[in-house]
Assembly symmetry: C2
Homo-oligomer: 213 residues x 2
Amino acid sequence: MRISKLSESAGLPVGTVKFYLRSGLLHAGRATSATQAQYDDSHLARLRLIRALLEVGGLALADIQRVLDAIDLPTDDTARSVALVHSALVPGDDCDADLATSREAVSGLGWSIDPESTALIPLARALEALASVGVEVPPERLRVYADSAFHAARADLHAVEEVAAEDKAVVAGTAPLVDALIISLRRLAAEHQLAQSAQQPAVPVPRLTFPGA
Amino acid sequence: MRISKLSESAGLPVGTVKFYLRSGLLHAGRATSATQAQYDDSHLARLRLIRALLEVGGLALADIQRVLDAIDLPTDDTARSVALVHSALVPGDDCDADLATSREAVSGLGWSIDPESTALIPLARALEALASVGVEVPPERLRVYADSAFHAARADLHAVEEVAAEDKAVVAGTAPLVDALIISLRRLAAEHQLAQSAQQPAVPVPRLTFPGA
């Protein structure tokens, strides 16, 4: 398809598509003349992912580039796909965080985490940010969030496991969209619980189950 | 304290503090001359919250202004503090989302949600974004995320409930920092599970408990 059709299908202005081509976020089309090129479904899929990560994932273009680079590395393995995307999602300028905070928090949870894992950086930053505004997260509150995150992570991994090898990287790359999904569900869950508690004091606690268990 | 001391304590350049004063994010100090003013702990606390929401919460300044406006409304009630902050966190330009998607998803969960709730907008957007890149979220996967979100939301509400009336709004306003906390825990939980599954096939499922249950 021509660039006009590509941009229309992706719901983006032609100028934006041209900008993504120039900046390398979108791979070049097949040149058909000095000024024209043909694009295919791979370009459309890539544009949709860029748009979703930008508008819903809330990522900056530089972070999107890192995620796309991670997705483009050859892999058909769930663990490697997830690990590559996760490390791409930790911005490089975060190294001032004190990892002792998050190492201690994680060791209290009994999780096997590499003490040099970059995933410890955003945890340290979140705990420091909460402490800076006077909110200490006691171990029992952290435990609830960790158990909640543990269950969600199993569903994430299951989603990557169940797709074909060539799709694993893209499904792993949707992590920022799942972040947005879970955040929205947490707001709705609070709304539900507040509505319930206005009527009845005890809220039933659902049993956690997950696919593939 | 003078502005120089204020900016030093908050870890921000004086120019940034002046910009926040001019833009109304930070309330004015007590004028002591035509060109000088005195600031107190309320200014420092506000600067720390702005900085945390910007750097860790990932909010734009316009969204931070909305959260601060919500926090500043007089309330000493948990439900109202949370509802105000939640509605401030839904950007106003999101109204193109098709709420039928999220109403159907939420009704499948059995939650009591107002069909006009603005919290349905980000859920619709997240589901649409995932669908646009070819990832449909089946009901059983959505159920896991919803149960996970339900437990985390109970811990959120408990944290707001247990603080003094005058602190409820600020604790509710830390929701974007808790988002970052939970996202980081989900990445670490995946890392833990991948490490476990490399060694042993079955991962023990923790029992979910939460404070105040």
